[in-house]
Symmetry: D4
Subunit: 230 residues, 8 copies
């Protein structure tokens, strides 16, 4: 091979505030393991997504502080100190959406946010959503994970004042077309206050939620001091 | 021309219980006018959809009992006697969905059903839906017309016991792709009890709603007498 | 895990008239089994769709009144008392459509309707349809299951006065695009009186058929008494 | 301009048995007129499709034997001698399909076939098809023009022994997606014996029908004499 | 099960001139075997497509005159007597298109046509096509099987006077989208005289080719006697 | 008409923190005017999007504090007091993206945020982006508006620590497919920290940007006091 | 407006070897005119594409050396000195492809290449291509412009040793889907040596052809001297 | 089988300058092996793509000069003498794109070009690209391989004067739709100087890069002698 297969972006943390994550689905076991090892040698906390069980076993064996969530495939070694002021609510339409919803949840926690999950509150039985609405409203950012028609994001956005990150999930069959129907439904939600990440991109949703959440503490104090007393 | 341009299906009423409708969008003014005239000569009540204003003027001039709704483009001459026992509720997500929703409403009334419209109760402000839910629940059949993400149909289906006919509308822009997002959203609604008609097919939704509604009176008496006392 | 993975909608029956079903395809064996068990503890009749053989064996072992149909993957424990006055006809274009057609059939029966299936009567040999048309016409609701071009729904709708629920099936290859051609063909059927459920959604078709069928008895008597004498 | 804008394929007739046609939609009035004039100078019979009215007026003024059909936009100057043994049946689902169906009809006649049109016999009222089936069965080739779900082609193919050329038409709205639903429905017709031309390609359907029809006379005599006595 | 899973169309031969074929891909081994057995009991020659190897072994074991082509998956028991006057040329763009091209070839032969295959003559090396053009021109009908861009059909149609049946094949990767690019390319071929069957539908192409070929003998003599002397 | 055509959501402000906006594209001039008038009677500040020039003239004539931006079609009457602590940067790839980018800019300002626009800094000349990167980095939220390949959002997200709202624009031709390529490119941006709104939904982007920006002041103080000292 | 609407990339020429072009379709007349004027003030040669007639008149009036080609909408003021060693052949399938093909031709000439056009040599009459093949083979780079099935690019690539830039054109109707079928056909051309630009992007094809052509002179001498003797 | 399954295009080298390659994915092991053997018997250097490991083992066993790259699946036996003057740079966005990028790299080298790879320099961390930009600028042709949003090609094209061949890769999930998002993004890149090959077509990209690169030496000397002194 003509060179190395990966060029780790070591100063990403200083540039964007978050270390680089390792997406395992497109890599061999050996490639993923090698990248994680090198990151640990540089003392970088590791967040690996879509990690196969076998990789998790190897890494957990080598690093005692590694943690693996088999539902979402999230594998972490270390994590960032809590650094964000508010709460992230991850709302999940159905049982089948859990793996992706948990990817968002655990990503946000890894990066330093407090985050909670509200499972199985889809709009087909909308009273389930109302029964936990008070708790959801306490969050600074909401991640709404749903497959099929993806209506959850728009319904929530009409009920809260926090930004909603819509996370379409590729569950379902037929006209759900691998998450396309949920994606389109979320993009065209009538309620404003919604933006959408890629289908099944729990990592991206959790990352963005943390970015927003983090600012509620750090930025106002320094950047806009005059208005802080409001 | 080698023959006639239209072969009117005169015994349709006896076969399916409803006379044939005239879809004006794909016909010239003259073709539509000629078909309507021949139907009236045969004493068939006329329902014309997507009727241009000019056609409506000509027909209303000729037939005093003609009625034209300029919002939906529905033009009728005569109508069937009321022949269905229950009520049809046409629920409409936003102002922009009104032309298509009214096409459904007026079709159902033409065919002999009682029908009412509930405008501007989309899920972006879901309290508007709850405020008229009691009335909607009185209906035997519900037509849910919505564009954009089309979530209205699934949310209603989770709240009522009547069948819901989902009517996707081609309003909106961008990823609504001419009604495609609403169509997909309605097809993949998580709540059961929903079936979908073609985008903008208000006529089809009203027709089917009437077919269902009509049976609540006529069929039970003859076809399943033993269970009538339930 | 942060909470429970499923929040059973126990009062669904009182709200919509039907208990919640369990869609097994997106769940692990353990999740499905646990949900079914909890429903049985609450004395809720269970309808599970897309049930794997292994799940069926476990459930049938535990509950003597469980029944499993290996063609459709429908697994039931108990069922609702017959509560609808008319008949549902499930018409099926070809042998390959049977699994989905039977999902509709068994769902309708579980919910309390009488239902019959008419297999292999696709439009490529249209005399087969005509030979059972008299029987089909006896139904209050017709479910038309077909893959490929999906023409069956439209042809039937032109021949009967009952509502037709079109059920596109993902059989076929090439330009059938996983049921898309059948779906589009059914949505654009020229004959009115057709509405479409999601591709392969036999459950949804059977559920909606029952909802319509059920009203032919119950609703007219209470809700629209004045017109009952017609 | 660096050269000529069109390079007329003068020996096409000797190579493929048919002269080149002029597709006017993508050309300016002047380009079309100039091509037609040069073809006439070479004594080539002209078939122009999608001809604008203004072009037709200019050409009809110049050539007394020019004929223009305003419904289909077919403009001819001269035609080929009748050279095919059988009949072509152009079957047309609805009034809106007529322009394209006539394009097929007039193309086939221009090239030397006998051809007849059967308008408004779509499958929504299938008795209309049966009432002219005997006449359709007399044809050597059948062109089936339909929009929306395009079921006509498959239904006919199950009823006749002649080849069926399916001609999808871009009429309709919503999920007909500019003829796509008809195209897919025709491609996936369950009955064998169907092949499909491009959406709205009446010219191509008529041309191919003639090619097939022509062979029923010419080829057998010369090319396969031994089997002629069958 | 409520009835039989298949309703064999026994008089199809008298109606359309060809017996019904058995499409094995959507059926279980047992279903296919049972249908074939019943057809043989009725002395109907059998053409089964997409037959699995195991089915072929069982059938070949039972019926000595059964033949199986493992490349295309075509399994036949008996065949029709030769009944068509001309030759069918099956032209095949590349090695990967062979399974589907042979499905067309063997179908046509089963039905009673003489047919020959011209493999690996795609347009990327167009001299290969020209080197066998003389032989291709002898055919009454041409089937052009190609994947990727599907240009073969249009190029041939510009060089011959016989009708061309375009058969798109789902080989390739990326933007060939499972045969979609070939399908679209064939539908929009600039040369007239082309019609297209479904992606990978070798059976349909061979069937239609035979239908056309058969008429070159039978029909002219009986059906249009007066014009035979031309 | 059976009722009113619009049901203004008057307490939306208290529920979500922002008043309802008026989307004029799907409404008649009269409908828009009437809604605006009624909102003003209720003293609700008005933000109307896609306002036609004629509507703007009428409204500006009636309300002296109305403002109209002809590039974006944003029409406002009144605005909310500045209520957010940070800055929103609207970054715009090319001149053609300006109308939509300004819709986002003016929406954010209307709702009470400080916002600035950075026009014509697309990635085709990436030095233009770097020349204003310092200023962009000062923002709490970034809106990245781009058509064609939509690469701007991902490139920016890799360079900043603030959340990026990607706003695909329907400029371009051919394979940009009305903004679809930009939409897909933004959804699949390799850099995390991006979420996407609907094509051309400048309003939604500005609204969401404000929602995020607003929290940097209000929420931390009240809602999560314990963590404020971090 | 918050700033300027365009930020001209003045040192683009030094960076990429070519000045920036002005795409007029997405700009108002005034915006285009202003950009052109400022470029001329900086003595930058101007290439404007999709220029409206009215813009051309204004610019030609102001700058005597402006040239306008009404077929392609290319407007130039000045041009670069001839700076490339070889010839570019622009091959064009049909008359309807000319506007886009000429956009490529004139762009290449503006940038300093010699370029010639070969119109109306589509594969439907492939002898037309062979009759000018000798001349096409003299070119260093070939641009192949075609709509419909786009087969021209692949056929040429199999016949020449020069690189082929495929330029899909949005002519045609039905399944050409605005150039999509040509685009897919070109991307999947079986012959290697083809790369594709956006639909209707004559400018991009001409630009890239020039970039390749230019290197045949400049680069070898300076950059890779050692290998020049081969 | 009626003939041979492959017709090797032996004089391809003289016609296009490159021998034919063997695409193994659509062929059986035996077919690939047989073709390779026959090519070696004719002393033709062999480039096989998508070669399975087992095929590679057989071929490497038989021919000592065979080489196999397991990452890309490229298998070569012999290669062409170096015959091109400049360098090809293969730039690769991420680790997951390596297999396809190496297919391009090894194809170009096989054909006689010098080529280097620059892995993992995607735009999400754009400083990685800038750190090797000087080396990339030394190339005569650049291949830019990327999945997901495919922005790499456009960003590079804005920074260099050499032609860029964009190579979309089917890595990713969700809205990357098997490489479609990268393909569309590359086709609509705002920077000119980009053309695109099929998704995952590393072979085609390497082949075309070599064709361009080769001309920088050979053609100028013979074809355009007068300008050689520049």
């Amino acid at each position: 091979m003509d060179g190395d297969f990966a060029c780790i972006d070591k100063d990403r943390a200083s540039r964007t505030g978050c270390p680089e994550a390792v997406y395992c689905a497109g890599k061999t076991l050996e490639q993923s393991e090698s990248i994680i090892t090198r990151m640990r040698e540089g003392d970088i906390p590791v967040l690996a997504t879509r990690a196969q069980k076998e990789l998790a076993e190897r890494i957990c064996h080598r690093y005692p502080d590694a943690e693996y969530d088999s539902i979402s495939g999230i594998l972490t070694v270390g994590r960032l100190a809590e650094n964000a002021g508010g709460l992230i609510a991850v709302v999940c339409a159905g049982t089948s959406d859990l793996p992706i919803a948990r990817e968002a949840l655990l990503t946000a926690r890894f990066l330093g946010s407090a985050a909670e999950i509200f499972p199985d509150v889809g709009v087909a039985g909308i009273h389930r959503l109302f029964s936990c609405l008070e708790d959801i409203r306490k969050a600074n950012v909401i991640v709404a994970a749903a497959g099929m028609e993806g209506a959850l994001a728009g319904v929530i956005a009409g009920l809260v004042s926090a930004p909603v990150i819509a996370l379409p999930v590729s569950v379902g069959y037929g006209a759900s077309f691998g998450g396309l129907s949920a994606l389109l439904g979320m993009l065209t939600a009538c309620a404003p206050g919604v933006a959408v990440v890629n289908i099944d991109n729990g990592f991206g949703a959790g990352y963005l939620a943390h970015q927003i959440n983090k600012q509620t503490v750090a930025k106002p104090v320094e950047a806009v001091p005059g208005q802080h007393g409001l």
